[in-house]
């Protein structure tokens, strides 16, 4: 599904941020911003809420800790009780290292996979690339023109983009890579 966008191009992150502020004031609906590196403060300008990935990590950690404890308790008391050095079968201190490791592992995996799924990434995933220069030295603001692609509207947005300091304005489709 290739979508047409009208795009404003910048060559500097500071210019991008000030341009974005102008867009916000004019009420242009921004579909996405593509940058070659993380730009500090951009989420604030775009009004994004904080990521919920920390909560996924917490849930993963709790699941990891619980499953590790329950599994070890089951193995060492019910399934295959072994007398190890005269220790009790339910030897909590010796369960802690494994519990700790699995907590970290589950938390990390939960966050990584949540991120991949949310970002539609992963092996074999089709990625829509707008332009290859966004991985190099260009900062691009995309505005969706699917709904209102009247000549007049496009002209208006382009004029506003130029006003916001965009060095270049293009209208093109995303490509599948």
């Amino acid at each position: 599904m290739n979508t047409p966008y009208i795009s404003a191009w910048f060559d500097d992150d500071e210019k991008l941020l000030s341009g974005l502020k102008v867009f916000k004031e004019k009420g242009i609906k921004i579909a996405d911003v593509l940058t070659p590196f993380p730009v500090h403060g951009i989420d604030k300008v775009l009004g994004y809420r904080r990521s919920w990935i920390a909560r996924v990590g917490f849930i993963g950690g709790v699941l990891g800790a619980a499953s590790a404890l329950v599994f070890q308790a089951w193995v060492f008391t019910k399934s295959y009780p072994l007398n190890i050095g005269g220790k009790p079968f339910f030897a909590l201190p010796s369960f802690i290292p494994v519990t700790f490791e699995l907590t970290v592992l589950f938390a990390a995996f939960a966050m990584v996979f949540a991120f991949l799924i949310r970002s539609k990434l992963g092996p074999g995933a089709k990625t829509e690339i707008y332009d290859e220069r966004i991985t190099d030295d260009r900062f691009v603001v995309l505005v969706d023109i699917n709904e209102n692609h009247s000549e007049e509207n496009i002209k208006k947005i382009s004029a506003q983009m130029a006003e916001a300091g965009a060095m270049d304005i293009k209208i093109k489709l995303t490509e599948n890579k």
Partner: protein, 393 residues
């Protein structure tokens, strides 16, 4: 913007009242307890080492950030500097314990009066003997005080002179201090605390004491910063600074638990009598405190400070800091009491009163230290960075 702390009559009154409470507790204990002597000395050692660790954390905090070339701490730097000015007091009190060792005032360290048939202590005699112990103690105290004074002096000199040479100089002294501290923090922990149970040893002990030092020191820094903010000083300290201090409290609480547990797990698993000798009395006679210790120093700060918002919320941070301060007091209690008092120990008006006395002394010295210089080191090269500290989300 020069800002000076005013040590008003109200603060003087409160800290002197706390000192008086401590003195009354000591005198009253003399009439109440039949074993007052050993009880007094055990509490004396425990509180002196605990507050010495907190004061020392002030120097460590400054030196570590100096070496890390970080900037955010500049706006609160005068607080750890003032804390480090308690070192001469705690050092003097430690010398009192040392004098007690020479003149037999107390029996805190049983290696000082060994049983002639005690082969373990016989083997350790090369290290654990009174003259060498005294030399080491004096080296620790003198070294820490000298480094604390130098770092403080350079920092204050910089207030009147906008020259980068002071900053460069203090980096050198910070590096020297860290090397000195890396060795002496371990050896002083062995000497002053681990040698109470002289038959026992643990190779993790120095780290264990260090991690506790950092947690309790950070807790005290947080409380002092919040107190100063509440009293109308240090308006420039924003949520970002508190967030960073909260991260320290959170991270080092976990680090403390890591070391506590590593020490416990290996000894529990190995189950060798000479090693378990340390945990047997603690699990028998101090069972409740033993688990409370883990709860207040790990589970509570871990859950309470886990989210970003709670680290930026002054009242949560203050609450966790108070709990961590009390928690590590309990930790020191568990370190010192079983070896010195045995099953006789207990937390009564004496223990609490004496600790309040130490808090009074500490606050008096810190407040006095804060008045000695501007609350903001404005000529520090990272002054502006710290003032405009913010992160984006």
């Amino acid at each position: 913007m020069e800002e000076k702390f005013i040590f008003s009559g109200k603060y003087k009154f409160v800290s002197l009242l706390l000192i008086l409470t401590g003195l009354i507790a000591v005198v009253a204990g003399f009439f109440v307890y039949h074993d007052h002597g050993s009880r007094f000395w055990a509490n004396f050692l425990m509180n002196t080492t605990y507050f010495n660790a907190i004061a020392l954390c002030g120097v460590v905090f400054i030196a570590v950030h100096m070496l890390g070339n970080s900037g955010w701490q500049v706006s609160i730097q005068r607080v750890p500097e003032a804390m480090s000015m308690f070192l001469p007091v705690s050092g003097f009190l430690m010398l009192v314990i040392l004098a007690g060792l020479w003149f037999n005032f107390h029996h805190l360290y049983h290696w000082a009066h060994p049983d002639p048939h005690d082969t373990i202590l016989e083997l350790k005699k090369g290290y654990l003997n009174i003259p060498f112990f005294s030399i080491r103690t004096i080296i620790y105290i003198a070294g820490w005080i000298i480094f604390a004074r130098i770092l403080r002096k350079i920092s204050v000199l910089q207030d009147n002179n906008n020259d980068l040479k002071y900053f460069k100089k203090s980096t050198v002294y910070a590096a020297l201090f860290i090397v000195f501290f890396a060795i002496t923090s371990s050896t002083s922990a062995w000497d002053w605390l681990m040698s109470i149970d002289a038959h026992w040893y643990s190779t993790m002990y120095g780290w264990y004491i260090f991690s506790g030092l950092f947690v309790s020191g950070t807790a005290v820094i947080i409380l002092l910063v919040l107190f100063l903010k509440g009293a109308g000083y240090m308006k420039h300290v924003n949520k970002e600074h508190l967030h960073d201090l909260g991260k320290y409290l959170f991270g080092f609480s976990i680090f403390w638990t890591y070391l506590w547990f590593s020490q416990y797990l290996l000894i529990w698993y190995g189950n060798i009598p000479e090693e378990t000798a340390y945990y047997v009395p603690r699990l028998d006679e101090y069972r409740n405190l033993f688990f409370i210790n883990l709860g207040v120093n790990f589970i509570f700060p871990f859950l309470a400070l886990m989210t970003r918002n709670s680290k930026r919320q002054p009242w949560i941070l203050a609450m966790v800091s108070v709990v961590a301060f009390i928690g590590h007091w309990i930790d020191y209690y568990l370190i010192v009491m079983p070896g010195t008092m045995g099953a006789e120990a207990g937390i009564g008006f004496f223990e609490i009163g004496m600790t309040l006395g130490y808090i009074g002394m500490f606050l008096f010295v810190v407040f006095w230290g804060l008045t000695k210089a501007s609350l903001v080191p404005e000529n520090h090269p990272y002054y502006k960075e710290s003032m405009e500290y913010h992160t984006q989300y």
